[in-house]
Amino acid sequence: MTQAAVLNNVAHRDLRIVTTRGAAWGDDVMSSVVFPSEFRDLQAHCPIVFQKTAEGTGFQPIALLGLQEGQNLFLGPRGWDAHVLPLAIERQPFMIGRDGDERMVHVDLAHPRVVRDPQSSVGEPVFLPHGGHTEFLERITSLLAAIDDGVQATPPFVQALLQHELLESFVLDVELVDGSARRLAGLYTINEERLAALDGAALDALHRAGHLQPVFMALASMSNLRDLIDRMNQRLATGA
């Protein structure tokens, strides 16, 4: 159960947040919601695919981090094995809440990243001794703003993909070194043929709306499927 509270420098004066990446702090997730603005940074590391929203009314871009539920193949003994994190993961345990027109930073006090012991010196402080924002909090605030912008930007992006029929469903069947098999279904990716067949007017429209780059970044990211499989095979081989 989450326990969201509006962040303030009085009640949360001594709040510290664990920033180490690991399963103990909730990072063992197979995928993360991602936003078009971060496709460029992520495409070098993880596959960016699309999934239907629960009500079936739209699609959500996600980064694939593992090949089965609860498995994040980027988590290793040295933390996160890449120098970029999806925004939705990095901002934990913070979130944006809207109060009318105002965007207020909230913190989930029940999250494992929240350091319970007020005497502890583990983790990053959120506020400076006299109540000002730490650099950490500044970074969090800018991440949350980027996420909020991303949430607004995703529907028009997805709409453009559907309008030009650029999404297609795919099923990934994987055979691993131990002979076991995995199947990932219900996922969608960029339809490369349709993309290549777009005429000048369509490309122009996508470019002007800022959608063209993320489309190509998502397409390029698909080569990381091979990488995910290799990571899984390595885990199986070393028994990690």
Binding site: K52, E55, G56, T57, L162, L167, E168, S169
Partner: protein, 528 residues
């Protein structure tokens, strides 16, 4: 030596004229136009002429699952069908009261095949270990979905895709209008609203043109008769007779009503309901905004007034109102044409024949006819006679199989007759049973129906359908082991367990019909 000299009349088939604008007419026009590029300058020209004064028949609201592929081929959206045709999803039929009319007399004929069909001897295992369970309930999850009013798919399932195989229920009048709009606006079909006054012919008897009231002569290379029971071309002009099936299936009349729901969010039924009556049966089709209910009967066994009273009683007993307007009255000759394709005229829809809608075969046969016509569209007049023979052969076979399958519902009944009608006893008289059906029933006394019992590539009813009706109607093979080696019970058991598991999962994961239809009306379905 082939004479390649041109004559006054071009040999190429370039222009198809569809006569009549109901469901059959617009299905045919739309399918041909989509497949043969009527919107392109060098595609097939498709014209549909319909009389502004002749309304469509107004009944015909159930399809088969093949309609999904046909509509996808035509290029319409399933979201559009739901929104504009008051469509709902149909998962087969349920037959109430057909065996003996006692309480609990009910069985399903679902669209989904038995789990493990063809892989295991399901019937023997059923009889030996689970004989008290209805066959369809044991081997198929779909009857359970229907019993709980579940939809056959989810909000996130793409359009035309299924979780459980399904077909449609929709408003008869709206379907034609829906297809018309797409055919005219997207597919290049030319729509002429006019009366056909007479028909002119070529020397060889082919139809040359239709003489219209306001548009002069409408010439064409191929004419499709979609004029319904009137059969203006195939019947009145070409004189092809209807081969009566009255000796086998007696029903030749129907009364139809539209029944409102008590509440706007009433449960939408998952299947067509067919309830046996003293001299016929009633259909009940659940659309989102109202039900379509009707009573099919034999005029030789009862009167229209008796039937109307029965129908109103039946509607009231099912929770409907008593104060409905007068029912639509329909009469028909049960039977089908001796030939469906004569010269350059082919009959599709009611003009080709009609039989009681016990398994919703009318729209299905129209759809199958339009599909075969489009797939085999002759390129030349020379090829047309060959295609015509193949078409006639295919549909004569299909119609006779439909007759066999419908008769199966009657010949196995043990219903007693009431009053003066001898309807149910008459249906069991051997001389009313087609020989092929009689022979199969003899074979089935000692073994279950299986794939090879029906030997054409595309049968109208697969052998599994015969199993569902046969065993649903209470037929049992003769007891005692045959000489056939039996397989271990574990194989069939595995499939029975699979059915139970799938049933549990699906009941939990599928929305109700009302929920899904409401969602689709608001948000639509994704194409992918």
């Amino acid at each position: 030596m082939i004479d390649a000299m041109s004559t006054a009349r071009s040999d190429r088939i370039r222009h198809v004229v569809v006569v009549g604008g109901g469901s059959a007419g617009w299905l045919s026009a739309a399918l041909l136009a989509a497949d043969h590029r009527a919107a392109d300058a060098d595609g097939l020209r498709v014209t549909l002429i319909e009389s502004p004064d002749t309304p469509p028949i107004g009944v015909g609201e159930g399809t088969w699952p093949s309609m999904r592929d046909t509509l996808r081929r035509i290029g319409v959206s399933e979201t559009g069908l739901v929104r504009e045709c008051d469509a709902a999803f149909k998962q087969g039929s349920r037959f109430d009261g057909w065996v003996n009319g006692a309480p609990g007399d009910t069985y399903h004929h679902p669209f989904v095949l038995p789990q493990g069909y063809g892989d295991a001897d399901l019937v023997s295992a059923w009889l030996q270990q689970h004989a008290e369970v209805p066959y369809a309930d044991l081997v198929c999850y779909q009857p359970h979905l229907c019993a709980h009013g579940r939809a056959p798919k989810q909000a996130a399932t793409p359009e035309f895709a299924a979780v459980a195989n399904y077909a449609y229920h929709f408003d008869a009048g709206k379907f034609g209008v829906f297809l018309r709009q797409h055919a005219v606006e997207q597919l290049g079909v030319r729509h002429v609203s006019d009366e056909v006054l007479s028909i002119t012919t070529h020397d060889n008897g082919d139809i040359a043109a239709l003489q219209t009231r306001a548009h002069g002569a409408l010439a064409g290379d191929l004419f499709i008769d979609c004029t319904g029971l009137a059969a203006l071309l195939i019947g009145q002009h070409c004189g092809v007779r209807l081969v009566s099936q009255r000796e086998v299936l007696f029903n030749d009349a129907a009364l139809a009503l539209q029944v409102p729901y008590a509440e706007a969010d009433a449960t939408i039924a998952s299947q067509t309901l067919a309830t046996a009556q003293p001299s016929g049966w009633t259909w009940d089709i659940g659309l989102p905004t109202r039900r379509g209910v009707g009573h099919v009967y034999s005029s030789a066994h009862t009167s229209a007034d008796e039937v109307e009273a029965r129908l109103r009683e039946h509607i009231a007993a099912s929770g409907g109102p008593r104060d409905l307007p007068s029912a639509r009255r329909l009469r028909f000759d049960p039977g089908y044409r001796e030939r469906f394709w004569h010269g350059n005229c082919v009959a599709i829809g009611l003009s080709s024949g009609f039989i009681e809608p016990l398994e919703a075969s009318a729209l299905a046969l129209a759809e199958l006819s339009a599909t075969m016509l489009s797939d085999e569209m002759p390129a030349t007049r020379g090829a047309m006679d060959i295609v015509a023979r193949r078409f006639n052969d295919s549909f004569t076979y299909r119609w006779s199989r439909v007759i066999d399958f419908l008769k199966l519902h009657y010949v196995l009944s043990r219903r007693a007759d009431t009053g003066t009608s001898t309807y149910w006893a008459d249906h069991r008289r051997p001389e009313t049973v087609p020989e092929r059906l009689r022979e199969l029933l003899t074979l089935w006394r000692h073994r279950a129906p299986y794939r090879q019992d029906l030997f054409r590539v595309e049968e109208v009813f697969p052998s599994a359908s015969y199993q569902y009706v046969l065993y649903g109607m209470g037929f049992r093979p003769e007891p005692g082991a045959g000489t056939r080696r039996s397989e271990p019970a574990a194989v069939a058991d595995g499939y029975f367990r699979e059915t139970a598991t799938l049933t549990r999962r699906m009941l939990a994961a599928l929305p109700s019909n009302r929920e899904l239809i409401t969602h689709i009306r608001q948000h639509g379905l994704q194409r992918i």
